[in-house]
């Protein structure tokens, strides 16, 4: 790195005071999107572009905010650098020029920690990054990838559970095509639960627990065996895990761990395999 220009102090995001939002902290605002422990690195305007590029490569960043004192002058990005270089006529080495010569032309978009992230989608699309500022200072750089990662984390469990539930329904229906078969399976598995109440007639009226009960019932398994593949013992264990995780997700008890996501994905992949097997033999749902 060029010896004469020093980096503006590196700041860990979690060391920065975030705006207090104790009662509304579960709303999906900008502060929820920022990855933990992000290191915000700002560079001074006089830093040679070559040094800045080296720094970006080293840290895996696609942009760096350029700051003079407390003022963010703009963003230095690979794109801005390339566009400027393409227009340069002289023989001057562009990597020796200061970064302030290569700032994004578009005005920098600023956001606060408690802003709605939806309002930033256009800016993220146009500029690839938004500068997030706290009460006194620059806090973070938000990129489209941060938003995508966050939304994926939030939505992944719901999507997996949806796929699991719909594929269970599809496979059960594929297994009980003949009239009366479904009703008989429902009766076997659910009579004790419903007692005097009338049993549900359609699969869509069953809860997830009831789908599982249909499969777990020993009297029903022969019916389902061909569609699901494997054994009742194995499916029973797999679906037990899904049932527990589904309750945690839908009752918002806790955030699922990586292992939990993997467990859901494994069951989903099993069901996909069973569905594809049916697809391959040309069966219809």
């Amino acid at each position: 790195m060029g010896g004469i220009v020093k980096l503006i102090p590196i700041t860990a995001l979690s060391d920065k005071p975030r705006e207090a939002a104790r009662f509304s902290s579960f709303f999906h605002m900008v502060n929820r999107l920022l990855p933990d422990g992000q290191i915000v690195l700002a560079i001074p305007p006089e830093m040679p572009a070559g040094d800045a590029l080296k720094l970006m490569k080293e840290k895996g960043y696609s942009q760096l905010p350029v700051r003079a004192g407390q003022t963010v002058l703009g963003l230095f990005t690979y794109r801005a650098f390339a566009l400027e270089v393409a227009q340069m006529a002289g023989k001057e080495d562009p990597t020796k020029l200061p970064v302030e010569e290569f700032l994004e032309h578009e005005k920098v978009t600023y956001a606060r920690l408690q802003d709605e992230f939806r309002s930033l989608i256009e800016a993220l699309d146009a500029r690839d990054a938004v500068v997030v500022s706290g009460p006194d200072d620059l806090v973070a750089i938000l990129t489209p990838m941060d938003v995508l990662r966050y939304l994926y984390t939030v939505a992944n469990a719901f999507v997996l559970i949806e796929e699991i539930e719909l594929s269970l329904r599809t496979l059960i229906l594929a297994a009980v095509k003949e009239s009366g078969q479904l009703a008989a399976c429902i009766k076997n598995a659910l009579s004790d639960r419903y007692k005097e109440r009338s049993l549900p007639g359609r699969l869509e009226d069953l809860t997830f627990d009831e789908y599982v009960a249909l499969l777990r019932d020993g009297r029903n398994w022969d019916q389902f065996k061909a569609a699901f593949g494997g054994t009742r013992d194995l499916w029973r264990g797999r679906l037990e895990r899904v049932r527990e995780l589904r309750n945690d997700v839908f009752h918002f008890r806790r955030e699922l761990s990586v292992d939990d996501h993997q467990a859901l994905a494994a069951v989903r992949d099993r069901l996909l395999r069973s569905c594809r097997t049916l697809d391959a033999v040309g069966d219809t749902p």
Partner: protein
């Protein structure tokens, strides 16, 4: 003055009470203390009681306990046993504290429990080092090595005088370097002999139960074993360990490998999915049913794998057993509720070894090892859950043995379990000493 009178809870065993008394009385001398404790002596229970007593007497205001991540929830539960709410210092709590407390102010007084990894993360450590800790407790200090050791020492050195530093070692007689110099050692291994002749140990009976695998199982396992031997490195051993655990654990591993396009795994997976009857599962179901009929509940079934836990607990439920589940993915309040439920209402607990670390299961009447861990020390950890001080009822322990000895490793694991037990019982040594570093 009454505040300074040391309270000894009747739940503490004599050696635990003696420890608490000594720590409290000598606390202001600021000595560093290392507690050496074999598994099953309730070191975590004693430490938690001591910390709460120090807080109650006002000798300390802020305590930081560093522990392996897997034990963090357990420490919170231990604090709750003394009606004390410890703060689980994880990423969300850390963020909240950062929001609510100005950088130049101290965090609220209390007992903070953090995983060693989290506490030594650069940004977290920088903040922790600014807090005025009165006491830093390092759990399983002998397991901390390398670069992290220096970070933990630096963090522990931040404790204000009078400072106390517990280096809790399980069986290691050498003072771990993380504890530093001038350490006073409190050694419970000396009372191990007493335990071996005491009724607590004598009331635990061990049996091997043989079961017969079906022909389909034997074919599958023989082929898995031969496939595993062709795999270089740890993956082959892991595959056999899963095969020795349950069909579900094996099936899960095969599915993952088959998904990568491995045709051999795909073929084995198809074989696994055709196994209609599971001899081991049947054997365990009948042991559990027998315990229920003889009214020797609660039963604990131990396993190493979550897939086995799901598989066994769902099967036992379908056979009409009242089944509780305990695994590492559960919240600390759920852990506490499950153990309280088992103690008061009985039934069967199917648990992963990791989830029971630190828990006291001295009230269970029957223990079934559905599978065995690969390391003798891990087996000793399991045994430490139920061979404990305070046992009031006898306990029967079952190890399962395949009549045909289909998997060679299963036999080795059984021998290891016997060895772990005999080392402790006959030689008075800890199994850790017989392990590779």
């Amino acid at each position: 003055m009454s505040e300074r009178q040391t309270r000894i809870d009747p739940r503490l065993a004599p050696h635990q009470a003696a420890f608490l008394r000594r720590v409290v009385s000598e606390f202001e001398r600021g000595k560093r203390l290392q507690l050496l404790s074999p598994v099953g002596f309730g070191k975590s229970f004693a430490i938690s009681a001591t910390v709460v007593e120090l807080l109650r007497q006002g000798l300390v205001q802020r305590v930081l306990l560093l522990t392996p991540a897997v034990l963090a929830a357990q420490w919170k539960l231990l604090a709750e046993q003394w009606d004390h709410a410890a703060v689980a210092l994880d990423a969300p709590t850390f963020r909240l504290l950062q929001q609510d407390v100005q950088p130049d102010e101290s965090w609220p007084p209390g007992w903070y429990v953090a995983s060693i990894y989290f506490a030594t993360r650069e940004d977290v450590r920088a903040v922790l080092e600014r807090q005025p800790w009165d006491l830093v407790v390092v759990d399983e200090a002998h397991r901390i090595t390398g670069q992290r050791e220096a970070l933990v020492v630096a963090l522990a050195s931040m404790a204000r005088s009078p400072a106390m530093f517990f280096a809790l070692a399980t069986g290691d007689r050498d003072v771990p370097s993380v504890a530093g110099r001038n350490v006073e050692v409190f050694d419970w291994t000396q009372i191990a002999e007493e335990r071996r002749s005491s009724r607590d140990e004598a009331r635990v009976e061990r049996h091997r139960v043989t079961y017969q695998r079906t022909e389909q199982e034997r074919e599958l396992l023989t082929r898995v074993e031969s496939h595993a031997q062709s795999i270089v490195g740890a993956a082959g051993i892991q595959l056999i360990q899963r095969a020795a655990s349950s069909l579900a654990a094996l099936d899960d591993a095969l599915f993952q490998v088959a998904a990568l396009g491995n045709e051999h795994a795909e073929e084995l997976l198809r074989l696994a999915e055709r196994v209609e009857r599971d001899g081991k599962l049947d054997a365990v179901a009948s042991l559990v049913a027998g315990a229920r009929e003889r009214q020797t509940l609660p039963v604990v079934v131990f396993t190493e794998y979550l897939q086995t836990l799901d598989y066994v607990s769902a099967a036992l439920e379908d056979r009409g057993e009242r089944c509780l589940r305990l695994h590492g993915g559960m919240q600390s309040d759920e852990h506490l509720a499950v153990l309280a439920d088992l103690r008061t209402r009985g039934g069967v607990l199917v648990a992963t070894s990791a989830a029971t670390q630190g828990a006291s299961l001295n009230f269970v009447r029957v223990v079934v090892h559905y599978d065995l861990p690969a390391r003798p020390s891990a087996f000793a950890q399991r045994e430490g859950r139920y061979v404990r001080f305070g046992r009031t009822e006898p306990c029967t322990v079952y190890l399962l043995e395949d009549e045909d000895r289909t998997l060679a490793m299963e036999e080795l694991m059984l021998r290891m379990a016997d060895k772990a037990h005999s080392i402790e019982a006959e030689l008075g040594l800890d199994v850790d000493e017989f392990e590779d570093p």
